[in-house]
Symmetry: C2
């Protein structure tokens, strides 16, 4: 399979390309090129062409890309021609925001079940859902053939819940708990940690001060 050759970092940029193409479509555009996509994404045109080249030839040299065609191809490559049912675990503030997040469905995903183990939350409405008892996690995941889960539980509970998700058949976890989950090799995990992102940027805030000190020396 040609697609096996693509490095993970290139795969990770495909959703960004798809995002830009969708925006171009909404603007009524029919063609684009790597230069324009690069400008919109802050990436070099060469990077974009190289990433896309792992997956096939999507444009004629000099003629650019057909927006609708490339969009369709990227959705195919990323397996987004179907809608993936998703289990959300955790019905706190974050779970609430995620259950009400409008972009999942247009992106190819639909939260079909929300779980929590807090008796005060079980049975209460959340977005278009009713919070289910976490004790039913395995049954619902297996019955509905769900392979993607979003983990929005406290740090202390995260690994134990992840273990249960994996045992129930989950193959991809979007993890909001600030811990690197231990999972088998065939399970993918992506982590979202806003604190780590802020800390990353804080490093440079001081670097600016240092730069000014240098200037005075």
């Amino acid at each position: 399979m040609v697609k096996r050759k693509a490095p993970d970092i290139a795969v990770g940029r495909l959703p960004l390309y798809l995002r830009v193409l969708n925006q171009l479509l909404e603007e009524g555009r029919t063609t684009t090129n790597s230069q324009e996509m690069g400008t919109r994404l802050g990436l070099s045109p060469a990077q974009i062409r190289k990433d896309l080249s792992y997956f096939g030839g999507f444009g004629r040299f000099g003629a650019g890309y057909d927006v609708a065609y490339l969009c369709e191809q990227l959705r195919r490559i990323l397996n987004l021609e179907r809608t993936w049912p998703v289990a959300l675990v955790g019905a706190g503030h974050l779970g609430h925001a995620l259950a009400n997040y409008g972009r999942f469905s247009e992106g190819g995903f639909e939260i079909v079940a929300v779980f929590d183990d807090d008796p005060s939350k079980i049975g209460s409405p959340l977005g278009r859902h009713q919070v289910l008892d976490a004790a039913q996690l395995e049954r619902v995941i297996q019955e509905q053939g769900i392979v993607i889960a979003i983990l929005a539980v406290p740090l202390q509970a995260a690994q134990a819940v992840a273990d249960r998700l994996v045992a129930a058949g989950i193959k991809a976890i979007l993890n909001y708990a600030p811990v690197r989950l231990k999972v088998p090799n065939d399970v993918k995990v992506q982590e979202i940690d806003p604190v780590a992102r802020l800390q990353h940027m804080a490093y440079y805030l001081e670097a600016d001060d240092a730069a000014m000190d240098d200037g005075e020396a």
Copy 2:
């Protein structure tokens, strides 16, 4: 300055090291090493030692690291010895979750003002805050010397709000809108896009099916 030499990708991993060290501290541990940290993070010990080497010598060869000392040094390097005041723009479901997110303060950040331009939200309580009129954005940011903002507004409003934030003096933006913001070179942006992360993982879900097909051939 020694710290200038560090590549951004190494800087971006420091918060993960800090996270692990904090967890070790909570477990009452006093020493660790790159092997143990690597196991907890799914990174190679060599990677961790190399990343840390950009910033100084934090352990004696063979003796490992003093957890409290390395923790303190990483906080110093990342400029987290102070608490950074943060402006949050957008008081929808996501803004609500962010305003109630407990980990910001322990990470070195405090949301000090929440803004929205929706008259039905302005003045209403959100976490420990009262939602301010977005018209006051510039005044509050300047008066309070805020340089970090979290952007949790709809896609269509994101660039215009970012322009206002930058003009008001913001130097770091955590962007939840699915668009690559255009900002001056001295402003840092980190993007959080859960849909892109799910799409990245969906690529591999199909790869598994393909692998099974291959097996049958």
